[in-house]
């Protein structure tokens, strides 16, 4: 069973200086990651994943999550996010209408949702991603434009940010599969999945990809994977892209999930409880992030 560890984390803050953040401290980095909610369902508190008119309930509550929410967020219910480093963060209202991000602790273990595998083993690069398919994982873009220098990029309010380190292995793997590049998602359990439109599968990867797709379809057709099939169908319908597994972060580059570097004090988490420090999937800034030279 998953639990929330009451332990500090170390993060690069302003000007890349490492600082220790303790449970209950303000979270100074972007409010991004996998999004979950604690809701009261049938008079019991549950961790849920929701999008539009879809809700999935986690099979169990991570130990100490409710206590950490109550103590540090000031409300046992509500949204929280988990970063690719396993940091659990939430929003608390410190005075009327003014919210700030707060660090709750580290997630130890895997959230368990019926029909999904959030920490799959034995997957090949190119398999369909069997985890959740929206707002699951911190979002980054791999570019093929000149000057990208193998950094991972993201955008907020029209501004572009890049991770501190370069990720040449991840970038190379994405370009091998999808030469025009696109977005990837790094989950709290260290898995990376990416968007892959059917029309942009590289010629060198096509045979392998469509063989894997046939295998996945065979698995999804057995009547035991209907939840996953519905979710993948929703993803493909909404985005026109297959959700495709890339690998584990520990197998690429430094083996550590990206962090973002700020030159000066940037105010993240401005807004209410439901803020997200990244632009919407279809936002203008993502549209302006040209992939070509």
């Amino acid at each position: 069973m998953a639990s929330i560890l009451d332990e500090p984390t170390s993060i690069p803050a302003v000007d890349e200086k490492l600082v220790t953040v303790n449970p209950g401290d303000v979270w100074p980095l972007p409010y991004r990651g996998s999004r979950y909610t604690v809701k009261k369902v049938d008079d019991r508190l549950k961790v849920c994943w929701t999008r539009l008119d879809v809700k999935h309930d986690a099979s169990s509550l991570p130990e100490r999550l409710i206590k950490a929410m109550g103590t540090h967020k000031g409300d046992q219910r509500g949204r929280f996010m988990v970063t690719p480093h396993g940091e659990v963060i939430a929003r608390r209202e410190i005075r009327d209408g003014f919210w700030q991000s707060v660090y709750l602790g580290k997630l130890d273990g895997v959230l368990d949702f019926l029909g999904f595998e959030l920490d799959p083993s034995g997957l090949k690069t190119g398999n369909l991603w069997p985890g959740l398919h929206f707002i699951h994982g911190e979002e980054f873009a791999v570019w093929n434009r000149a000057g990208n220098q193998d950094y991972l990029y993201w955008t907020r309010r029209g501004l572009y940010f890049r991770a501190i380190e370069r990720y040449p292995d991840i970038c190379a793997e994405v370009r091998k599969i999808r030469p025009r590049c696109g977005r990837i998602y790094i989950t709290e359990n260290g898995h990376i999945w990416m968007n892959l439109p059917r029309s942009e599968v590289s010629r060198s990867f096509q045979a392998e990809f469509f063989t894997l797709l046939d295998e996945d379809k065979k698995k999804l057709s057995d009547g035991k994977h209907d939840i996953l099939l519905r979710s993948i169908y929703d993803r493909v319908s909404a985005t026109g892209c297959y959700p495709v597994y890339l690998g584990e972060i520990s197998d690429f580059d430094s083996g550590v999930a990206p962090r973002t570097h700020f030159l000066a004090g940037t105010h993240f988490g401005v807004g209410g409880e439901d803020v997200y420090d990244g632009d919407d999937f279809g936002g203008k800034s993502w549209r302006k992030m040209k992939r070509d030279y």
Binding site: D42, D96, L220, L229, R291
Partner: protein
């Protein structure tokens, strides 16, 4: 309400509506969530208060839906259950010149009552109820074209709105300098009306405005149930789609041109 119900029956629909308070002294009032400003009901509540006190003699809070149904939550064995009380007979009249049934408002005018009602949300032409225990649930009915048109004009990025028990559709828009005609409306308002609006603007940075009318009530589509097994036909249709879907091929930067990941809103915290 679709079926005959009596005081004390379990309320089988979604729990929503304008939130009022009542006391054992037979008083009924509305109050702001945070600063405690109270607006007392002067008339229209005689039968409602009698029915409420039968269920809860010590007083408490209740709601009135956009269909005019009075509902309350009762606790039993630590579980809160929504209960039907009665139907509203007539619009309430309030102290301090608060006007919840104005006759001459135009879309975009400042709302003359307090900001409350059954809360729904919209984006483009889709309207839903945000279920606190579940995901959003889309509504079955179609709101009048004029209401949706005004919503698109006055709140183009989508968000939440309210329907009062008297059938008024109201919403919040980002606060902005008032145009001249709204300045006149503001100056003609009572001190309490101005206090209500100021409190709302201060707590949400948004201004309550009138959109239009809707009287037909709202029913909800059931939430999607992913645990329900697919029929063989549904499964085949989805698998065929995965194999043969025609990706748009066209991208604008990082975004497929017809992508429709919708955003969620949090522009109307409980007041």
């Amino acid at each position: 309400m679709e079926q005959d119900m009596e005081n004390g029956d379990k309320w089988p629909y979604h729990y929503r509506g304008t939130r009022y308070h009542f006391s054992s002294e037979q008083k009924v009032w509305w109050q702001t969530f945070k600063n405690g400003l109270e607006i007392f009901v002067k008339s229209g509540h005689d039968r409602i208060i009698k029915e409420l006190l039968k269920l809860r003699p010590e007083g408490g809070s209740f709601r009135i839906t956009e269909t005019g149904d009075v509902i309350i939550k009762m606790v039993e064995k630590e579980t809160w259950t929504p209960i039907y009380v009665c139907e509203m007979d007539m619009p309430f009249k309030f102290s301090d010149d608060i006007e919840t049934t104005p006759k001459e408002l135009k879309p975009g005018d400042i709302w003359t009552g307090f900001y409350d009602g059954s809360r729904y949300s919209h984006l483009n032409d889709r309207v839903w109820w945000r279920n606190p225990e579940g995901p959003r649930q889309y509504i079955v009915e179609t709101l009048p074209d004029e209401v949706m048109l005004q919503m698109r004009i006055l709140k183009p990025t989508g968000g939440s709105f309210r329907i009062t028990e008297d059938g008024y559709v109201i919403t919040l828009i980002p606060k902005q300098p008032l145009p001249n005609q709204l300045k006149k409306q503001w100056e003609s308002m009572s001190v309490t009306q101005q206090q209500l609006i100021t409190a709302k603007v201060q707590s949400t940075e948004m201004l309550p405005i009138y959109i239009g009318r809707y009287h037909e009530g709202i029913t909800l589509q059931p939430p999607k149930d992913f645990t329900k097994p697919l029929t063989p036909e549904e499964r085949k249709e989805m698998l065929d789609f995965l194999n043969g879907f025609s990706a748009p091929g066209e991208f604008e930067g990082m975004v497929p041109k017809d992508a429709d990941e919708e955003e969620e809103f949090f522009d109307d915290p409980e007041d």
